[in-house]
């Protein structure tokens, strides 16, 4: 299997390398058809064919920065010393938490879970502030879902709810769901009907055959009404006043959904982050399931980060739960709201934090950020962030998918191998975490010896 080749034309410039079928890990689309042109001298990617605007930024902006590999309290230290300190912090903590993981390959995620198993910590991923509510909803109602290729091959009705892929997942439409021709969709977009449901007319709107504007915060009511109508029940005649959508539009949509051959509902943060959270996702998942009585219907959250889905999978197969897992008692426990990171920080429960490829200091609620400032933080990231800036121990790591290999899971749970483009002087997060894990094992063993 050839993953790299030196093209004929590039023979005179031996320092250019072409990586074919590389994978972009910027968003959950995880497009694996990148053709990267790498300037090996400059340690940077100069061209990313097939990439979208976000992917191009991702590939082109990730060069090698001049930055220390490791710092303690803002001062450069040898990597080993930083790993010692990180291990010490986690070992001594009574309530160490680990968070992030969605921009790390599965190999690193597995070590992160192992660390928490060892220090009796608490592990959570960015899922908890992304589609965590969908995860909770999933546990309540299940899910009818499919891989994206199935949508490409079969879906004649595509509905987006509360998401704006044109800006967040630019190739979602073109590579998987709307424009591509599929086995039973020979004419691509012409064979599909696309509906967009959102509170505002986003840049995604032009792709849709129909835009349904729901009143802000009324997604649940709209979904609930649809469920009732699909089941042949009546709804409040004031439905338009409540949701902003007329009964005629609803009836038409219901008929369309029941009569398509293969329908799909994609949904985004517009559901999970608004009032109702997991119930919004749950209503949508239940609607898709209800529709299976009439036709084939699937639903799928549009996941944000490159490997957030991998994090869900790894944490699930190692602990039995997808996120928000606590090991205090030596076995995994799950309870969102109790063991999820925003809560642990906002309540002031955590006394040390391992932040892996995430920046809670910039995007968490203020109260959580304030507690984060009070406790020792270990950060691993490929770029300086608000979090790394205030971390006790900050590791600069290589960028996954660009400098390091490994496995990531696309938003539809399809695992894909990464093809790194060039080497990085920075360690991988797997290496740093393994270093910390090894040290922790020693600290534990010493502790036991002392106790004995």
């Amino acid at each position: 299997m050839s993953e790299t080749k030196t093209p004929e034309a590039a023979k005179d410039e031996p320092n250019i390398r072409i990586v074919e079928d590389a994978t972009c890990t910027f968003c959950g689309c995880v497009c694996d058809d990148m053709e990267l042109t790498v300037d090996l001298d400059a340690n940077r990617i100069t061209k990313a064919k097939n990439a979208c605007v976000l992917g191009r930024a991702w590939f082109l902006q990730h060069g090698i920065e001049d930055h220390p590999q490791a710092m303690i309290d803002g001062r450069e230290v040898p990597l080993e010393e930083a790993m010692d300190e990180a291990a010490r912090i986690l070992h001594e903590a009574k309530f160490p938490i680990t968070y992030g993981l969605s921009d790390s390959p599965c190999e690193a995620q597995r070590v992160a879970v192992a660390i928490n198993d060892l220090v009796l910590g608490n592990i959570d991923t960015t899922t908890s502030v992304c589609h965590g509510p969908s995860g909770i909803a999933f546990q309540g109602v299940g899910e009818s879902t499919s891989t994206l290729g199935e949508v490409k091959n079969r879906a004649d009705l595509v509905i987006y709810w509360g998401g704006n892929p044109a800006e967040s997942h630019p190739r979602h439409f073109t590579r998987y769901t709307v424009t591509p021709k599929g086995r039973y969709i020979p004419n691509g977009k012409k064979d599909r009907y696309v509906v967009l449901i959102d509170v505002r007319k986003t840049p995604s709107a032009p792709v849709a055959d129909q835009l349904i504007r729901v009143k802000p915060g009324r997604d649940f009511e709209l979904l609930w009404a649809l469920r009732a109508l699909v089941r042949g029940r009546d709804v409040d005649p004031d439905i338009e006043k409540i949701t902003g959508v007329s009964r005629e539009v609803l009836d038409e949509l219901v008929e369309r959904m029941k009569n398509c051959n293969f329908g799909v509902l994609f949904f985004g943060m517009g559901l999970t982050m608004t009032r109702g959270r997991h119930f919004n996702s749950g209503a949508l998942l239940a609607l898709a399931t209800d529709l299976n009585k009439y036709t084939h219907f699937v639903a799928k959250p549009v996941r944000g980060h490159g490997n957030v889905t991998g994090a869900d999978n790894v944490v699930s197969w190692q602990t039995g739960y997808p996120f928000g897992v606590n090991f205090h008692r030596g076995y995994p426990r799950f309870n969102p709201g109790e063991y999820t990171t925003v809560d642990l920080l906002a309540r002031g429960d955590a006394d040390a934090a391992l932040m892996i490829a995430t920046d809670p200091a910039s995007n968490f609620p203020k109260r959580a950020i304030e507690h984060l400032k009070k406790i020792p933080v270990i950060s691993l990231d490929a770029k300086p962030t608000y979090t790394s800036r205030q971390a006790r121990v900050a590791f600069m790591v290589a960028t996954y998918g660009i400098n390091t290999g490994g496995t990531v899971y696309r938003m539809d749970d399809v695992p894909i191998t990464l093809r790194p483009a060039f080497d990085s002087p920075f360690p991988t997060d797997e290496e740093v975490l393994t270093g910390i894990h090894t040290r922790l094992k020693k600290l534990r063993a010493n502790g036991r010896k002392k106790a004995a």
């Binding site: 991702w58 509510p133 608004t274 995007n363 203020k366």
Partner: protein
Amino acid sequence: MMLIPGRSSKQGTSLNAGKLKEEYQAVTSTIEMNESTMRKLGLSAGDRVRLSCTTGKVEVECGKPRKDEDLPDGMIFIPYGPSSSELMESDTAGSGMPMSKQMMVDVECLGAK
């Protein structure tokens, strides 16, 4: 008024350059409203605006007006970032997810820069 943080391509691309870089910070502290709302509030593009709620307050810049049909009246859009965090309530209602969209805020015009 209702504040809706979300993703935008610009926020996404500037993220790659680095969060501590100016571009990202500028993108994530610029809000958008529709024409009528801006007119009602007496705002024009480039004005400084203070958003506040029970959780906190933050100063942002008013971006170019959006067409009325693109954004409902009374709604403010802002790309995710430190500014939206400042206003975010930390209660997750037992879900792990703070209410990160549809936050009710007060808007105060601070005049042009």
